[in-house]
């Protein structure tokens, strides 16, 4: 081997070089997610659609001079025109006003059902997963039993006992709706609770609330959000379905389900009475589903760049 004399080398050292410095701009997890979400065109379309729907749900009923519950027997079953944008129904009520009045109730049911599912599901699933053992066994078997109760039977029973109202409807939906959420949360908590950062927190003396609130729930937020966005359309659809069967809201209250139910017999002669509510049900469910899908993709760490 060729000998190279030592004086040809010079020690440069690492002075002046900050080896610990990070050049990349700091990105929190949610910023990263939102960047990826915004790249998803379909999901963004869903967001635009949803914003429009919410906008009309809030301001739509004020855009016409008509009241959603007021009958006008001189103008029944009018086709859409410049006076009645979406036409009128069999009692002469303006379908445009009623559609947005119904949007309020349908969206409120969807969002409320999702929020209640979220609250109960996260608490139930979180505690069940974290405590484990007998507590877990008891809580999950309770959920299983509730899950086994025939859904329609339960709804009819509740409607009979408590009377038909918005509250009863939401109760009927959430009484079993949270189970799905709690199972997802439990599964996540089970896999996260033995992670070393949770153990570290325990050795520092953290209690249940802190571990749940700071470590477990934030790290489960992804699947929770996706489930929530998919619960909303499911609840809206269930409301429509129950109302369609005549188990839902009572007139003159309007929801998309009751309007579709009213419109069906007149489908042959006055198709707009079914067309409008049905279209908006479909659009809303479509919007939430695309958003949910987009969120799932954006939250998937494997797609991270």
């Amino acid at each position: 081997m060729q000998q190279i004399s030592k004086d040809k080398f010079q020690i440069v050292g690492n002075e002046g070089i900050n080896s610990e410095k990070i050049e990349k701009p700091s990105l929190s997890f949610w910023k990263d997610v939102s960047i990826r979400f915004r790249k998803n065109k379909l999901a963004m379309f869903g967001i635009v659609l949803l914003v429009l729907l919410v906008f009309f749900a809030i301001f739509g009923p004020y855009m016409t001079e008509y009241d959603y519950a007021k009958n006008d027997l001189m103008n029944t079953n009018k086709a859409p025109s410049s006076e009645h944008w979406f036409g009128t129904d069999d009692l002469g009520r303006d379908v445009f006003t009623r559609t947005w009045e119904g949007a309020r109730i349908s969206l409120a049911i969807g969002v409320l059902a999702a929020l209640i599912d979220f609250t109960i599901g996260v608490l139930w699933g979180g505690i069940s997963g974290f405590k484990g053992g007998r507590v877990d066994e008891f809580m999950m078997r309770t959920a299983d039993i509730l899950y086994g109760v025939p859904y329609l039977l339960l709804v009819i029973l509740l409607m009979v006992v408590l009377g038909q109202s918005l509250g009863t409807m939401i109760l009927a939906m959430t009484i079993t709706g949270w189970i799905n959420m709690s199972r997802i949360v439990r599964g996540q908590v089970l896999s996260l609770k033995n992670q070393e950062y949770v153990l570290a927190s325990r050795t520092l003396g953290a209690g249940l609330t802190r571990i749940m609130g700071k470590h477990l729930i934030p790290n489960t937020m992804g699947p929770i959000l996706v489930t929530m966005t998919l619960t909303v359309p499911a609840a809206i659809f269930t409301e429509a379905f129950l109302s369609f069967l005549g188990l839902g809201l009572t007139p003159p209250l309007a929801s998309w389900g009751t309007m579709a139910s009213d419109g069906l017999p007149a489908l042959k002669y006055y198709p707009w009475r079914l067309f409008f509510p049905a279209t908006f049900i479909a659009l809303t469910i479509f919007a939430f589903n695309v958003i949910g899908d987009g969120l799932r993709d954006a939250l998937d760490p494997r797609l991270r760049k």
Binding site: E20, I22, S26, Y197, A200, T203, L204, G205, A206
Partner: protein, 311 residues
């Protein structure tokens, strides 16, 4: 040596008690840790090293046995404030630097977790100052405080973990394989940091590892574990020069040598538990063969070892 900081007496940790798949992860381990020393704990994968560490710090409830910290029983306590006091004195550094930091929290929040739990800072400013100090202690910058764990390298993450443990000013730190997930150049960085901190703050370590040369470098005394039992405990140099238990001999013979010539002649000794040939009525326990040198053996073996020692 100086006073005892930690006494572990006949510690047992069994999983699935009362079921057919009972696991005796730790089965009657007894040793002391002196103030200011580093006790290395080695053994093959699954022999119960980590479980011992985790049981000492109460991550698991011990099946049987006692852990005395400064003479107080750790596992008997149930009172919340007493537990908190104890949590401040004993801390842990974890194995996997990628799993031991919460990905949703900033470095400042991770390090300050202990400060928040124990209320060690009165104002936000005081809290941040403590965090900056800790970052400096482990060789990181102020600017790192607002970043997230995924932006750091393995060695940097491990140092953040060390800073988190130091935040509550503990006396005793359990290092659960803190370097086995790091590459060799970074291992030295972390081990030297641990040594430096020990000198500055007078810390006591229980250093769990399976890299024997690293353990020799950092430890004052070394314990060897095999299947949930401590088989040999001796000062580091003695253990390497004069291993008595056949399992220790086998373990030491497995260390690769950096010199290619002697490496070629190195002989692997394999360990077969049946060489002991223990009889049913023989009492097998830890016996002190030479001052400070304990071996898990029967009466007969004890005499053999003693003779071997004299030579």
């Amino acid at each position: 040596m100086a006073e005892k900081l930690l006494e572990i007496k006949n510690l047992k940790q069994h999983f699935n008690v009362g079921k057919p798949n009972l696991v005796k992860a730790v089965d009657g381990v007894t040793f002391d840790i002196y103030k200011g020393e580093t006790l290395g704990l080695v053994g093959e994968s699954g022999c119960g090293k980590s479980t011992t560490g985790r049981t000492i710090i109460r991550l698991y409830d011990a099946t049987d046995g006692q852990v005395l910290f400064n003479g107080e029983d750790v596992h008997g306590k149930k009172n919340v404030s007493e537990l908190k006091k104890f949590n401040r004195k004993m801390q842990m550094i974890f194995q996997d630097p990628y799993a031991s930091l919460n990905p949703r929290m900033t470095v400042a929040d991770i390090i300050a977790e202990g400060i928040d739990i124990h209320g060690l800072a009165k104002t936000k400013q005081e809290r941040m100052e403590q965090v900056y100090d800790l970052l400096k202690t482990v060789g990181l910058n102020k600017e790192h405080a607002n970043r997230y764990p995924h932006e750091f390298s393995g060695g940097q993450r491990q140092r953040i973990g060390i800073a988190r443990a130091l935040a509550v000013q503990p006396e005793f730190i359990i290092a659960d394989e803190p370097i086995s997930a790091l590459d060799v150049s970074i291992q030295a960085q972390v081990v030297n940091l641990l040594k430096k901190l020990q000198n500055e703050k007078g810390l006591t370590y229980l250093f769990i590892a399976h890299d024997l040369s690293m353990v020799k470098y950092i430890s004052d005394r070394i314990g060897v574990m095999y299947f949930g039992k401590l088989v040999e405990l001796a000062p580091a140099d003695t253990l390497y020069k004069n291993p008595l238990h056949p399992y220790t001999q086998s373990l030491l013979s497995a260390i690769p040598l950096p010199d290619p010539e002697s490496e070629r002649t190195r002989k692997r000794v394999s360990y077969d538990p049946s060489v002991h040939n223990y009889e049913d009525n023989e009492k097998v326990e830890m016996r002190e063969v030479a001052p400070g040198h304990f071996v898990y053996c029967s009466e007969k073996e004890f005499k053999q070892y003693k003779n071997a020692y004299i030579k």
